[in-house]
C-alpha cells in the first residue's frame, strides 16, 4: 500500500522534512498533539510532563511489559499557535544523539482534511543520517509493542 507520509532529506544537509495529509479536520489533528491523553495513545508511550506553552517542558517514557523503561525523551516548547504551529526541541534520553529542533506546521486542506509539515533540524548532517539509519531508535518501541500484542494474541 502506498504510504501517505513523505520524507524529504537532501544529501549532505542537516535537516529533513516530513509531510503527511490526514483525513481529519485541523482541530482534531492539532488536539492529537496537544492533549496528553491522546498523545500517549498514538505515540504508544506514557506522558510524564506535558506543558504545551512557550517555555513549557514535555517528557515521556515507554516501558516493556516487565516495567523496564526502554525509551525516554524530553523537550521544551518554544511556540504554540492553536491549529497552526508548534516549535519545540526533542531529545532522546540516555543516547548519544544530541537535541534536535522541530518546526511543526498544521494546515487545513478542507473541512475534513489537514496536513502536517514537520521540519527537523539536527546538529549535523552526520547526526541526521544516523537518525535516518536508526529508525528503531525513535519508534521501534511501538513496533515492538505491536509484535508483543500479536504474540499475546497468538497465545490466547
Amino acid at each position: 500500500m502506498e504510504l501517505k507520509t513523505r520524507i524529504s532529506a537532501e544529501e549532505g544537509k542537516q535537516d529533513l522534512t516530513i509531510t503527511r495529509e490526514f483525513d481529519l479536520p485541523i482541530d482534531l489533528l492539532f488536539k492529537a498533539y496537544t492533549v496528553p491523553e491522546l498523545f500517549e495513545q498514538w505515540m504508544g508511550t506514557k506522558v510524564l510532563q506535558f506543558e504545551m506553552r512557550p517555555h513549557g517542558g514535555y517528557r515521556f517514557e515507554t516501558s516493556d511489559p516487565a516495567g523496564n523503561v526502554v525509551f525516554s525523551a524530553n523537550g521544551t516548547i518554544h511556540r504554540v499557535v492553536p491549529e497552526s504551529e508548534i516549535i519545540r526541541t526533542f531529545e532522546m534520553e540516555n543516547t548519544p544523539f544530541p537535541v534536535q529542533l522541530e518546526y511543526l506546521e498544521f494546515h487545513s486542506l478542507g473541512i475534513w482534511t489537514s496536513k502536517l509539515t514537520m521540519h527537523i533540524v539536527y546538529r549535523s548532517s552526520e547526526i541526521r543520517d544516523q537518525m535516518l539509519k536508526l529508525p528503531f531508535a525513535q519508534g521501534l518501541n511501538m513496533a515492538h509493542n505491536r509484535l508483543e500484542a500479536i504474540a499475546k494474541d497468538s497465545i490466547n
Binding site: 495513545q41 539509519k133 531508535a137 521501534l140 513496533a143
Partner: protein, 107 residues
Amino acid sequence: MNLRRDVFQAIADPTRRAILMLVATQSMTAGAIAANFDTARPTVSKHLQILTECELLRQEQSGREIHYHFNPQTMKQVADFIEPFRQLWDERFNRLEDLMKQFKSNK
C-alpha cells in the same frame, strides 16, 4: 540447531536496539556496553553475539581489547536509506488518524 540470524530478528529486541544506539556514534568494548545495562553480563554478551552474527556490529581488535563498531551498511540492507524511517512515521501517523477518527465519533 543453527538458526540463521537476520537483521529484523536482531532489532526486534529492545536491549539490542539500545546497544546499537550506544555504539552508533562511538565504538565500545563489551565491558563498556554492559556497564550501561542492569542486565547480567552474559546476557549482554549474547546480544552482542547476535548483533555481530547478523553484521550489525563489527568486532575490531585494538591492542588487548575488542571494540564493537556499528555497521550502517547492514542497516541499508534492511531497506533503502530513508524507507524504514518513513514507514515508522507513517505507522505512527496512521495510529494518530485512527485514534482521532474514533475520538470524533465518540464526541
